[in-house]
């Protein structure tokens, strides 16, 4: 532990009993891929909707030897990412990093890193609304029954509405997936660009929803399929532009307005990936 570690707190803020309870929920989630496990969500020292679910999962699985990376919309330097990273640096005294390759734990809001994750890594998602069927069915008792009986036809209604109104499946984030051919899952508001990365990912994926008090998981090497129609297959976003910083033509790009005249540039949303590519171009190994 380093000198900056806060005193008076248990390791990683949560008390050991709460962590055990959350770990049990995580184990159940891993055992039933895509199934939403209710858990007794604890208060965290930041508001709901700022990543309390992801933080509780992180606090329960983090160990002294872990290296933590936190991203928000792909970036390491936004408020949410910086404060959560600092929080764990001070309450758990763990090493933090901005490099995807070095991290053992990655807590994320709204993105999956561009660099392929490995077996020794865990990806923890912050989830606002864990129930994919909520749009079509407001009753929790009914959505649970629909999951139990695999009644997922109604979800297709959402895609139908998209095609009827826009001529293509316009849902671009929070795109529903089937996990292991059994449970329908909300992948949290990641762009659908990232959906294919979830399929057969070597890393463990954990999802924490603090507000709704649900935990779910996708174990390593699990099949994750995005929903679609036979005549309107699933497609990811693509851009005509390349990243203005690293020139990437295959990563997820953010459109940034750069002056009052409406000029804009496109840059990689994954800041670490962009930085790594620039470094490589400057010093080709």
């Amino acid at each position: 532990m380093n000198a900056a570690t806060a005193t008076g707190y248990n390791f990683a803020y949560l008390d050991e009993q709460s962590k055990r309870m959350i770990r049990r929920a995580i184990l159940k989630g891993v055992a039933i891929p895509g199934y939403q496990v209710p858990f007794g969500g604890r208060e965290m020292p930041l508001p709901h909707g700022w990543g309390t679910g992801g933080m509780q999962v992180t606090a329960s699985v983090i160990g002294e030897a872990d290296r933590l990376k936190v991203i928000d919309q792909g970036a390491d330097d936004t408020t949410n990412a910086v404060s959560i990273r600092r929080f764990f640096a001070s309450t758990a005294g763990v090493e933090t990093t901005e490099q995807t390759a070095d991290a053992t734990l990655i807590q994320t809001r709204h993105r999956i890193p561009e660099r392929a994750l490995q077996e020794n890594q865990i990806l923890i998602y912050q989830v606002p609304i864990p129930e994919p069927l909520r749009f079509i069915e407001p009753r929790e008792s009914e959505t649970r029954k629909m999951h139990a009986l695999s009644e997922y036809g109604a979800m297709q209604v959402k895609l139908y509405e998209d095609v009827a109104r826009f001529g293509h499946i316009a849902t671009s984030y929070d795109y529903p997936v089937m996990v292991n051919g059994r449970y329908m899952m909300d992948p949290s508001p990641i762009p659908k660009f990232d959906n294919p990365k979830m399929d057969m990912m070597p890393a463990l994926q954990l999802f924490g929803a603090g507000f709704e008090k649900r935990i779910y998981a996708v174990p390593p090497y699990t099949k994750v399929e995005s929903l679609d129609f036979d005549d309107y297959p699933f497609e990811v976003q693509s851009w005509e532009e390349n990243c203005s910083i690293c020139g990437s033509n295959h990563s997820f790009l953010d459109e940034v307005i750069i002056d009052d005249a409406g000029s804009k540039m496109f840059v990689c949303s994954d800041t670490d990936y962009c930085r790594e590519r620039v470094a490589q171009q400057e010093n080709p190994a």
Binding site: K145, Q156, Y160, E161, V163, A164, D230
Partner: protein
């Protein structure tokens, strides 16, 4: 009996070969003494339209809910002869099977269209939902069928992307019917399908229903307090009062020659012009 008349008699053996679609045995459901329905027994045969009439509070809707697997009765059995599962006791089987029935072999038309429609998605999606629920995954085909059914219930196909909230009451009711019929169910439950509609819209809806029922050979159980609706649609009538069936018979027979004092009262209370 003359020879000619004897030939008109149905062959008894053949008649008995037809299995009832729905058999109801000793159904009881009481919320309080006298409130609910009890001692109900009948068989419904394929292609038959059964009307249940009676005053408000006589247990018609309770009975319909019990029959359509939406309300567990206190005692008794409802046996449905399913295409997929064979003869099944509705309240002894798995809930998953009941739910499969509801979206494939059955249709339920509610009194208020809002209860039976998804008001926040388009008319096309409302019709397509049952298709998608039974596994249809081709957008073009779903849309084509939705348009066909809009036409069948006389709604302009140009309204396919409008939401039901933008439809009139009569159109919502017709949309609800289309949504139920799209998977070609065998048995339809209707609870006051013409309630709350004005007379001319009612007449149009009844005409449409009668055509669809005879064209598709549907079996229907229809609950209504309106004897005119019953006369127009039902082959057979059950008259209910205080939770019990007081008279049953062919519709014309019951309405033209009522035997029970309550039925006589009911028939005589129709306004004559």
């Amino acid at each position: 009996m003359s020879n000619a008349a004897a030939q008109l008699q149905p062959n008894e053996g053949e008649w008995q070969d037809i299995e009832p679609l729905l058999s109801v045995r000793d159904i009881n459901k009481f919320y309080a003494p006298g409130k609910g329905c009890g001692n109900i027994n009948f068989d419904l045969y394929p292609g038959e339209v059964l009307g249940i009439v009676g005053e408000s509070g006589s247990g018609k809707s309770t009975l319909l809910s019990c029959l359509s697997a939406r309300l567990t009765p206190d005692s008794g059995q409802v046996i449905y002869n399913s295409e997929q599962f064979g003869a099944m006791d509705l309240y002894a089987c798995e809930e998953s099977q009941r739910r499969v029935l509801m979206r494939s072999e059955w249709g339920i038309v509610h009194q208020h269209a809002r209860d039976g429609l998804r008001m926040n998605v388009s008319a096309g999606a409302n019709i397509g939902e049952r298709l998608m629920a039974v596994g249809e995954r081709h957008y073009g085909e779903i849309r084509e069928k939705a348009a066909e059914w809009l036409q069948a219930v006389e709604i302009d196909t140009g309204r396919i992307d409008d939401r039901p909230s933008q439809f009139s009451g009569g159109m919502q009711q017709r949309l609800q019917i289309a949504r139920n019929l799209v998977t070609h169910p065998n048995l339809i439950f209707m609870d006051e399908p013409t309630g709350g509609l004005d007379v001319s819209v009612q007449a149009k809806l009844l005409d449409l229903l009668r055509n669809l029922v005879s064209r598709l050979g549907l079996s229907v159980i229809i609950v209504t307090h309106d004897l005119a609706v019953a006369r127009l649609l039902a082959h057979r009538l059950m008259v209910m009062r205080r939770g019990e069936v007081v008279e049953t018979g062919l519709t014309d027979q019951v309405l033209d020659d009522p035997q029970h004092p309550y039925t006589q009262l009911l028939v005589s209370s129709i306004l004559q012009n």
